[in-house]
Symmetry: C3
């Protein structure tokens, strides 16, 4: 039997809004350590990894490891019926082909249960090794989202270049070219407004803006985003979920003959 009670139910609502456009169907894996998901996006280009650790739940009962195949759009539809202050409990009986989401209003005057059919989904779990990155940028998540959106009005790809001084986002399109530089800045009043760069060596990589914009749907989950870059590895765009875990997006860089030229062929 599975019973996971999450007092801050809005977190689960935000997780689904963050990943449902990227992934159609996926297996949620429950074990003693937590509630997790790993899935490729529908065009098999990007990878999403979610972890909600068991300690973050008010009540976490998972008698045996369970993999539940869900349609994320349907799951998002149901979670949208939860109030932002509701407690959400996820329940499944052993061997059942359904999962139940229970929503309790803060006053306990309104109790909803939504039952959803589970699906059989073939999936293989990729081992993602811990890696060394050439550069790690931590910056306000809203700023990163704004930059990806702004550059999309000019071009299709973004070159992310990191130096000790800052991170530069560049694009080029039919109507012109754009460069946005965010300087390292650690002396702000609020730590979540800082832009912090850890760099072993300079790096400059090109990515499809379409995916970056998809990843920024996770912005409501966290005030900051961490972008880990290495020339031989997919970029990792990570949104931490307070005291519980993370949503991570992985995307391989585009290989281009002239990396300074972000213009799509």
């Amino acid at each position: 039997m599975l019973e996971l009670r999450l007092v801050q139910g809005s977190l689960l609502k935000k997780v689904l809004e963050a990943i449902k456009d990227l992934v159609n169907d996926a297996n949620f894996d429950c074990s003693a350590t937590g509630f997790s998901l790993q899935a490729m996006d529908s065009s098999h280009v990007a990878l999403v990894a979610l972890l909600l650790r068991s300690e973050g739940f008010e009540h976490y009962r998972c008698d045996r490891n369970l993999s539940m195949g869900m349609n994320l759009n349907n799951m998002a539809k149901m979670l949208r019926c939860a109030g932002n202050d509701d407690i959400i409990t996820l329940k499944a009986d052993d061997g059942s082909d359904t999962v139940t989401f229970m929503f309790e209003s803060p006053t306990q005057d309104k109790i909803s249960d939504f039952e959803m059919k589970l699906m059989d989904i073939d999936s293989e779990h990729l081992g993602i090794p811990e890696a060394e990155y050439h550069a790690i940028v931590r910056m306000p998540s809203a700023e990163f989202a704004r930059i990806c959106k702004d550059l999309s009005s000019i071009g299709d790809t973004v070159v992310i270049s990191v130096t000790k001084e800052g991170v530069k986002f560049s694009t080029r399109g039919d109507i012109g070219a754009a460069n946005i530089v965010c300087r390292q800045n650690t002396t702000v009043d609020k730590p979540e407004e800082a832009t912090v760069i850890e760099m072993n060596e300079p790096v400059s990589l090109t990515f499809a803006l379409r995916y970056m914009n998809s990843f920024t749907k996770a912005t409501p989950l966290s005030n900051t985003v961490t972008i880990s870059l290495s020339s031989e590895l997919p970029v990792v765009v990570e949104y931490k979920i307070a005291e519980m875990g993370y949503v991570r997006f992985y995307l391989a860089p585009k290989i281009e003959e002239d990396e300074d030229d972000a213009k799509p062929e």
Copy 2:
């Protein structure tokens, strides 16, 4: 001659927004007692009844009973041109084929008059007898609107079941099933947040969510909604208009072989 001056003109704006999607053309009836309307929706399934009592108007002159046929969409277009704080005066000369809406801004610096052509509409006034209901639920109107909207993302019909403990709204669709229970709750700080159930006998009835969602367009008119249910009668969904009257919606329950199954055939 007819001259009705309504200081809180926004009420009339909200009334039109509440009913214009349900009813295309209708007769407004003016008499010494008030300004009223009774009309079937365009698919002849639901009935709308509006009453604005003469006492609620600052000035109410109606020399003889008058029935004025109006296109509600056109009337709504004109009323949308009134400011929310405007005083609205409705004027018609005897025998005229037009009605005039006059809007006065609170400072009297802006005076508008909108003249609309009247229509000849055949209609028969149904006598709606006062009836005994098995159960009457009074609840926050925004909560009821939210529930109808939420359930619409799962199914097409709603089963409303009342017991002494509370009222349950259920639906079922391709992606799963949902139950939302609102408990009786009379010990809230603000009376408009209470959920109050008067019950003579338990009742469980099925309705089309499409109509329920239409009715909730009246939500801005009142903080609370009253739902009166009886197994032999149409449900009445009533929004009181402060000190003036009401908008009431009537809808016959769906007869289904298995009433617990809200899934549409």
Copy 3:
């Protein structure tokens, strides 16, 4: 070389939003006195004139007169990437076929530069003589925008009639007729809420609402709008830009056999 630094960059953003739907491509003219534009709308009915005086810029360097052809939609796309509090600097090298917009965030932590290709645009500069008008109406810009929008739901043209007492906006359409009268009102607390009428002789002129609604896209630029009317001249709808200049729209009145009848044929 051209370098124009505008601390209140949001002004330039608002200017582009005000005119980009009316004009596709236009030459911006830079001289020692300021940054200006004059262009017909794409259907050659209305004229737009913009002036931003050099004194309004923090830094204004214009070595020689320059005319830069720009696609206003593309320019608006780039300016939308500037934050509302950003400083905007416009730069062009002599003989270059590009212009660069630089955006600096208030904290200087984010610096963007957007480079746009210039175009060759044939245009002739019309001399607009200073003229005497029969009537000049100054009123709150939001009020004027609301009136144009409201009347558009009834008819296609507006008759603007000025008398000493006030200004009347009238229209007529299939569903009825509307008159909105704004009274002269100079005794308000805030001068920008006044409606002030300077009149030499009464005037009543008919205009296409489609264009008036386009002009009101400039509403965010100024709290007040000035409408100058004369029976032999195009109307001038002017939005002042604080301490810098203006955006002016010119539109010829419609000649109709019966000017009181605003109904389109």
